[in-house]
C-alpha cells in the first residue's frame, strides 16, 4: 500500500484533481458506451418486431379487403343472374 490514509489516497500527492479527473472521465465514457451499445440491441429487436407486426396487419387488412370485394362481386353477379332468369322466365311465360 502506497498511502497511509484515505486523505492521502484522495489527494494523490497534490495531483488528486488530475488523477481523479482522468479516472472519472474514463469510467464515465466507457460506461456510457457499454450502456448505449446494450440499449441498441433491445431497440433493434423491438424495431424489427414492430415492423414485422405492422406488415402482418397490413397483409391481414389487404386479405380482408379482397375477400370483401370478392363476396361483393359474387353478390352482384348472383343478383344479375337471378334477374336474368326472372326476365327469361317472364319472356317464356309471355
Amino acid at each position: 500500500m502506497q498511502f497511509d490514509s484515505i486523505n492521502a489516497f484522495l489527494s494523490m500527492g497534490g495531483y488528486g484533481f488530475y488523477v481523479w479527473l482522468s479516472y472519472g472521465i474514463t469510467t464515465l465514457a466507457l460506461l456510457l458506451l457499454i450502456l448505449l451499445s446494450k440499449q441498441k440491441h433491445k431497440q433493434t429487436l423491438q424495431h424489427i418486431a414492430q415492423r414485422y407486426n405492422r406488415e402482418l396487419k397490413r397483409k391481414e387488412a389487404a386479405a380482408l379487403q379482397t375477400s370483401a370485394l370478392a363476396s361483393n362481386t359474387e353478390n352482384t353477379l348472383s343478383t344479375v343472374a337471378s334477374e336474368k332468369c326472372k326476365s327469361e322466365h317472364d319472356k317464356s311465360v309471355k
Binding site: M1, Q2, F3, F9, M12, G13, G14, Y15, Y18, V19, L21, S22, Y23, I25, T26, A29, L30, L33, I34, S37, K38, K40, H41, K42, T44, L45, Q46, H47, I48, A49, Q50, R51, Y52, N53
Partner: protein, 248 residues
Amino acid sequence: MWKWLHPYANPEATYHLTDRIIPWFSYLTIILLVIGLTWALLFAPADYQQGDSFRIFYIHVPTATLSMGIYVGMAIAALCSIVWQFKLADASAASLAPIGAVFTFISLVTGAAWGKPMWGTWWIWDARLTSQLILLFLFLGVMALHNAFEDKALAGKAAGILTLVGIINIPIIKYSVEWWNTLHQGATVSKMGKPSMTMDMLWPFIFCYMGFIFLIVVITCIRFRNEILSRNSMRPWVKELALSKGGK
C-alpha cells in the same frame, strides 16, 4: 481451418457465437481491470519525478495504443469487405468505429489531465497530440459515413475507403515522437528489448492493458450483434428472435 471457419461466414452462427462468448469475456475483463486498476492506484510506487500523477499512465497508455490498434483492425476489416465483399467484415468495421472514437477521446482527455501538471498546459499543437486528434476525427468521419446511407453496402464501401486512406495517420502517430521534436515523451514500455520500467510498475500496467483489450472484445461483440441484426432484419431467424424478445 477453412472448414472450421466456414460456418461463421453465416450471420446466424456468428450471432449465436457472440451471444455465447460475451459473458465469459465480460467476467475476464472485470477481473483484469479490477486487479489492474486497484494495483495501479493503491500499490504501484509513485514515479520519482512525476509523483502520483504517474498513475494516469495506467489508463492513458493502454487507451492510446489500443486506439491505434482498433484503427488497424477496422482497416483490415474494411480491406476484407472491399476486396472480398465479406458482409460481416463491414458489420465489424461499423461496430469498431465508435469504440475507437471513445478510446481516442479518453487518451486525449487523460493526456491533457497529465499534461497540465507536468508540462504546464492542457493542450499544445505538438505532432503526437495533433495526429492523435486527427485519429479522433477519422473515427468520427467513419461513423458518420456508416450512418449516412440507407443502403448499408454503399455506406460500408464509402466508410471503408476513408478508413484505408486514413491508415497513413497510424505510422505518423507512432513515429511522431521520433521524427519531430515533441513535448510528448518517447515510448516507455515497448523500447526495443527490455522495457525501461521497474517490474512493480510494469505488472499493473500489463493487467490494465489486457483488461482494456478484453473490454474492446466485449463491446465489439455487443455492437457486432446489433449490426448483424439490423443488416439481416428480413431473415426468418431474426424475425423469430425479434418477436420472442422484442415483441409485446
